[in-house]
């Protein structure tokens, strides 16, 4: 065999072997779906009024706005700092409460841990609802129900976090190795014992990761919530822009940038350390 040419050694010439197609040819239904998707995308381009000329014409105005913002005015740095602190406090408390409430919700939304299929579907539906309604809409809802201020913003962030963490916590628990859970069931552990002793420890890296991403997300969201009166620095930015105080607006934007960057850096460090 060693000295034989490959075609003889394998018993068949390479030319006779049928090569699989490089790309799978779509069937007619799949082709129609692709065509429809492409058509819809073209309509979407039309609907979103994309205009290169409009963008180019806007460039001098952008430059003008930027020029009016420089140098930033730091005379109101103390109230801005207070509003920034309030923004972060809203994000922190909203995330912590959201993570705490999403854990039991995620257990109920995990197929093999949920006590009943009806509870499973109900929990999944609730999580989807929390996630699909934007945080700004939740903020509007809570401003109407509990009044203006950071409490409304914190509640909005909590519900938004429950939607985000609930989904990822449930998926993490769904993917855990079933062996340790079976071992604990075999030794007579209760369902809560199995969850707390086997499922949660196994899912912990994912929980921490998702929780820290939620904090980053909530910090960014909490900036915007002020625009609808739900506390935080957003209202300061809106007032500055409405009053054409662009140097003050520039200070606020820089402060927001620093806060978001700090939270992202901190969460990244924590992730590396804990994982």
């Amino acid at each position: 065999m060693v000295n034989q040419p490959p075609d003889q050694a394998l018993g068949q010439s390479p030319n006779e072997l049928a090569l699989p197609a490089r790309l799978e040819r779509p069937g007619i239904p799949a082709f129609l779906v692709y065509l429809l998707a492409l058509g819809f995308f073209i309509l979407a381009l039309e609907g979103s009024k994309i205009s290169i000329s409009g963008f180019v014409e806007g460039l001098p105005q952008m430059a003008d706005l930027f020029a009016r913002m420089v140098p930033p005015d730091i005379s109101r740095i103390v109230p801005i700092g207070k509003a920034l602190l309030e923004t972060f406090q809203m994000a922190l408390v909203g995330t912590a409460l959201g993570v705490a409430f999403s854990l039991p919700l995620a257990v109920l939304a995990t197929r093999r841990l949920s006590p009943h299929p009806a509870i499973y579907y109900l929990s999944r539906g609730l999580i989807s609802w929390f996630r699909t309604v934007p945080d700004l809409v939740w903020a509007l809802f809570f401003v109407v129900t509990v009044g203006l201020g950071p409490f409304a913003g914190t509640l909005a962030l909590m519900v938004d976090t429950m939607g985000f963490c609930g989904k990822f916590f449930a998926e993490a628990m769904e993917e855990t190795e079933p062996g340790p859970q079976e071992a604990l069931t075999a030794l007579g552990a209760s369902p809560s014992g199995v969850i707390c002793s086997a499922v949660i420890p196994a899912s912990m890296p994912s929980f921490i990761n998702t929780g820290l991403f939620s904090l980053e997300k909530a910090t960014r969201s909490s900036v915007v919530l002020g625009l609808v009166g739900a506390g935080g620095i957003g209202i300061e930015l809106k007032v500055a822009m409405d009053l054409f105080e662009y140097p003050t607006a520039a200070t606020i934007i820089v402060c927001i940038f620093v806060l978001v960057l700090l939270v992202e850096r901190l969460s990244s460090r924590l992730r590396h350390r804990i994982m």
Binding site: P180, E182, G188, S190, G193, A202
Partner: protein
């Protein structure tokens, strides 16, 4: 805490009184049947295991050994037949009563099934979950001192007291299986099931673990029911052999005097 010597620990752990073999069976199966997707895995198996016995279940892959073991603890629900485990018909139990019965029976799995991110001590403490209830046995930080001490005793019995603080996923396969045995001991079991406990270990480690396991069970008068593909383990560590072939019992007898060639034919 100071870890006592092996002998002292063996004295400290209360052993069940020795009973005459064959007096009351710890496990009695009558007509046990189980199918998956229309394929019959267990076809009416009858067997009895007396208190204090060490019984090996042998058979080729797919003969139904693991299914039988899982049915005995209702990790799988049988399709028919009765299972009397430690005097109770387990097929009629649910909820707390089922958990209470399971608490008295250890189960050592082929892949040890430890919780990887928890410490070795926490994994052993899990053995007391059904006895204690509540969060005190979820992990060792919450545990009562007497439970932590007992878990250390169990670890000492398997020679791993010095590994208590390590994470379970840092252990070797042999060490992990010893921890799984310690977890079963923590249950203070009357009977222990072991489903191919050394199949994932190399021959030397497998021999060590199996010898330790069988000796511990014998010393504490715990009934041992294990499956194995190693016929020498079955002959060396069991005083009784049961063989399955395609879900049917084809051998049930004492291991002494069994012919190796006959046993090998079960695998053909």
């Amino acid at each position: 805490m100071a870890v006592t010597s092996l002998d002292a620990t063996l004295e400290a752990v209360p052993a069940r009184p020795k009973t005459a073999a064959g007096a009351f069976p710890d496990l009695a199966l009558r007509g046990l049947r189980k199918s998956f997707g229309g394929v019959e895995i267990l076809c009416g198996v009858d067997l009895e295991i007396a208190k204090g016995r060490s019984v090996a279940l042998i058979g080729a892959n797919g003969s139904g050994k693991s299914t039988l073991m899982r049915c005995c603890l209702r990790l799988l629900d049988p399709d028919g037949g009765t299972i009397r485990l430690l005097g109770s018909d387990i097929t009629k139990l649910n909820g707390r009563a089922l958990r209470r019965l399971r608490a008295r029976v250890g189960f050592v799995f082929q892949r040890h099934n430890l919780v990887p991110r928890l410490s070795v001590l926490s994994n052993v403490l899990h053995g007391a979950q059904a006895r204690r209830g509540g969060p005190s046995t979820w992990f060792q930080g919450l545990a009562r001192t007497e439970d932590r001490e007992e878990a250390m005793h169990c670890l000492d019995l398997v020679g791993l007291a010095d590994q208590a603080a390590k994470r379970a996923d840092t252990l070797s396969g042999g060490q992990s299986q010893r921890v799984a045995i310690a977890r079963a001991l923590m249950q203070r079991p009357h009977m222990v099931f072991a489903d191919e406990p050394v199949a994932s270990l190399d021959p030397a480690a497998g021999e060590d673990v199996m010898a330790l396991f069988a000796n511990l069970m014998q010393d504490q008068n715990v009934t041992l029911f294990f499956t194995s593909h190693h016929l020498n383990h079955a002959l060396d560590f069991a005083d009784h052999l049961i063989a399955l072939q395609s879900g049917r019992k084809v051998l049930d007898g004492v291991s002494a005097g069994q012919n190796l060639a006959t046993l090998k034919s079960i695998y053909q």
